[in-house]
């Protein structure tokens, strides 16, 4: 019970590491920094495991376990404590965050070996761990928002880690600003929640919401607005349409950062929030539909862009966006557990993909363009195999983790009252695209002849410190899905049952209307279709990349217009720049700065000063040095005052 009583220890550990690294040990040797950073992170992971043990031993009556440590904000009847909460959902998130985070820390020691800002890097990383844990452990929306903003800050710092590169700092700013938009929605949601439920504690808001009547379909009620505002925040953080534009640019940061923040943990915060407040969404059909549609469209959209990207990390970035789309699709379909499940597995294999890609980049000496690679299979076998496993997982090959999670999502979508066949169809088509662009990446990178100059680039396998995490993550990518194997695969869906208490009412509402046996057959057919599509994607990729690569260019020439559209990422950035950024900058520059600040405010201030000096200059003439004129002034005052008195007396 120790950790349950002292929950604060878990976030405090990374914070301690960050403080030590950031304040005292900046100039220390790598060994010291490693000890602190890895030690604190490992301890956090260990304590998370211990917490899991204690939590499992906990009686179901006392779940969720809420512990309030000190009053934080008391304003009138508003009250927000520094309170931490543990339930099954939190447990999963904590384990994923600490575990993957620990592995990526290990990896970073190798990857950042020769970087100048070694201590700074680990300081930021630990700080991110702290905020992420605060986010997932928070017992009320306010504290959650602190973590929310904190991870945003760390993302900004780490994206712009190489702040001498203009592109890096720009990417950091972009991420920050785009997130601001979403945060605004989140704030609105919090305000509305407080206004409607008088509190922001999960343990008070969610039951109240559960007991409240749901909005009727097609009707914009309280829950709809709150849910949509929350969804805006989630879109910002989890890079969904229309706020996804920051994530590809965020690849400017170091690769471990991309793996940890922009694949495994932070970007899934949106999904976490949606799942956390699923009751509110369930009470609003419109919101569910919106979530589903947004997720589905984002998945397809990002996947299409990923088809033609040549930067290895960009491909992975768009793939991340698309996978996040899957998660939201699951949420929209009411299968929150499936969404969380995919979140976990995706954390495994996408982190693995990024790390492997980092390993490749490391091997290529910083080269990121896939067209300049090729034939690396023999040179960096560990990287190759681990990356292949991750690719199989994300492509949804049976037996791998991605297969189970994606399968669960698609079937849930097909069966859900909110989703429907159309969404399922799009999602299924996206499976094909996913398989295609992932295998395209593999083929371009590891197969074919070497496109680079051996004399310049000395390809070499990464050090142990980078390979060990790869291997561990590979194992996880394989077995990560087994404990959620649906019944028809002779498995028992532990994961679903484990999360059942959290999403109890979700299950009730999202239960497929069709009988179970029927559902099984439908599920088998769906899985079959998905697998066929995946293999199809694999073969197209093989055909275009290995069999005859010429065809690629000819296709590009024949369908030049759509090709350029995809290469230009649908020109969304340019659209935003023209529609939002430039007017904003113009108005800030000419209206706010020149007109209001300089004209109005400075004008007023200077005008007052000028008026004063002018008045003084005029009044100065009164100083005639003539005593009797002074006396006359006194008399004037006396007359005024006396007449006032007389007037008062008469009146």
């Amino acid at each position: 019970m120790f950790l349950l009583e002292h929950l604060w220890i878990i976030p405090a550990l990374p914070l301690l590491g960050a403080a030590l690294n950031g304040i005292f040990l900046r100039r220390q040797s790598h060994a010291v920094i490693n000890t602190v950073a890895l030690g604190t992170t490992a301890l956090a992971f260990a304590s998370a495991v211990e917490l899991f043990r204690e939590f499992s031993a906990l009686a179901t009556a006392s779940v969720p376990w809420v512990k309030s440590f000190f009053p934080w904000i008391w304003a009138g009847d508003f009250r927000a404590d520094y309170a931490l909460q543990v339930d099954q959902l939190t447990m999963v998130m904590v384990l994923v965050v600490t575990g993957v985070g620990f592995l990526i820390h290990i990896y970073s020691t190798g990857y950042m070996e020769h970087d100048g800002g070694y201590g700074r890097f680990f300081c930021y990383m630990n700080l991110f761990m702290f905020f992420m844990l605060t986010l997932v452990l928070a017992a009320n929306y306010v504290l959650l928002f602190v973590g929310w903003e904190g991870v945003g800050l760390c993302s900004y710092l780490l994206v712009g880690f190489w702040f001498l590169k203009k592109s890096a700092t720009d990417a950091g700013n972009k991420a920050f600003w785009v997130n601001r938009v979403g945060d605004f929605g989140f704030l609105l949601a919090m305000f509305m929640l407080f206004r409607n439920f008088g509190s922001l504690d999960f343990t008070r808001v969610l039951p109240a919401a559960a007991s409240a009547p749901a909005d009727p379909a097609g009707h914009f009620g309280t829950f709809t607005w709150i849910a949509l505002a929350l969804m805006a925040g989630a879109c910002g953080k989890s890079a969904q349409i229309p706020l996804y534009v920051w994530l590809p640019d965020a690849m400017e940061g170091p690769t471990p950062v991309s793996a940890l923040i922009h694949a495994a943990t932070m970007v899934t915060a949106g999904v976490y929030v949606v799942a956390r407040s699923h009751i509110i969404f369930l009470h609003s059909p419109i919101a569910m539909a919106v979530v589903g549609v947004i997720g589905c469209v984002t998945a397809l959209f990002a996947a299409t862009i990923a088809l033609v990207q040549t930067d290895i990390k960009k491909v992975l970035a768009y793939s991340t966006i698309s996978q996040l789309g899957y998660m939201f699709l699951a949420c929209g379909a009411g299968a929150f557990s499936a969404g969380i499940f995919h979140l976990m597995t995706h954390a495994f294999f996408k982190a693995l993909l990024f790390l492997a890609a980092g390993s490749v980049i490391h091997a290529m000496g910083g080269e990121q363009d896939m067209r300049k690679m090729g034939g690396l299979r023999k040179k960096i076998p560990w990287t190759y195999w681990t990356m292949l496993i991750a690719t199989l997982a994300i492509a949804g090959v049976p037996g791998f983790s991605g297969f189970f999670s994606k399968d669960a999502i698609l079937s849930a979508t097909f069966l859900s009252p909110y989703g429907g066949k159309v969404l399922w169809a799009i999602g299924a088509f996206t499976v094909l695209l996913t398989a295609f662009y992932m295998f395209r990446l593999i083929f371009l990178t590891f197969f074919g002849k070497a496109e680079y100059d051996e004399h310049q680039v000395h390809v070499h396998e990464s050090p142990k410190s980078m390979l060990v995490p790869l291997v561990i993550l590979a194992v996880l990518s394989v077995i990560g899905g087994w404990q959620a194997a649906p019944a028809l695969w002779g498995g028992e869906n532990h994961f679903d049952h484990y999360l059942a208490p959290v999403f109890a009412d979700a299950a009730s509402s999202a239960e497929p209307s069709t009988p179970a046996m029927n559902a099984h057959t439908i599920e088998q057919q769906l899985t079959l279709v998905a697998f066929i599509l995946a293999t199809l994607g694999f073969f197209i990729a093989w055909w275009l990349c290995i069999k005859n690569p010429k065809l690629r260019d000819s296709l590009a020439n024949t369908f030049s217009a759509p090709y350029r559209l995809l290469v230009g990422k649908y020109y969304v950035d340019q659209l935003y720049a023209g529609a939002i950024v430039r007017p904003l900058v113009w108005s800030s520059n000419y209206v706010l700065w020149h007109a209001i600040d300089e004209g109005l405010i400075d004008g007023t201030v200077n005008g007052v000063a000028h008026l004063t000096s002018e008045t003084g200059g005029q009044v100065r003439r009164v100083e005639s040095g003539n005593t009797r004129s002074y006396a006359s002034w006194i008399v004037l005052g006396a007359v005024v005052f006396t007449s006032l008195l007389l007037w008062l007396a008469v009146r």
Binding site: E623, T627, A631, V635
Partner: protein, 100 residues
Amino acid sequence: MVPISYFIVLSAVLFGLGVIGFLFRRNIITMFMSIELMLNAVNLAFVAFSRAFSQLQGQIFVFFVIVVAAAEAAVGLAIVILIARNRQTLNVERVNLLKL
């Protein structure tokens, strides 16, 4: 019999005369005496009111006013002597260093 308001009117008139004297004399000492005249007018009003309301505070106040006037005369005349010695004149029109 004499209404006490007559005394008030008289004091008002005397006060006004004092003001006029202060405004129209150039000799510091004369201006000073005009001030004394104003003080006396005020004292008269005080005593008249104290009689009208048959309260002695008015006379007490007059007493204090006289004391203050004495102190003021002492210091003021010392200043007048200084001015006369430094500027060789008693004409305020010539004592106008404090000006634009």
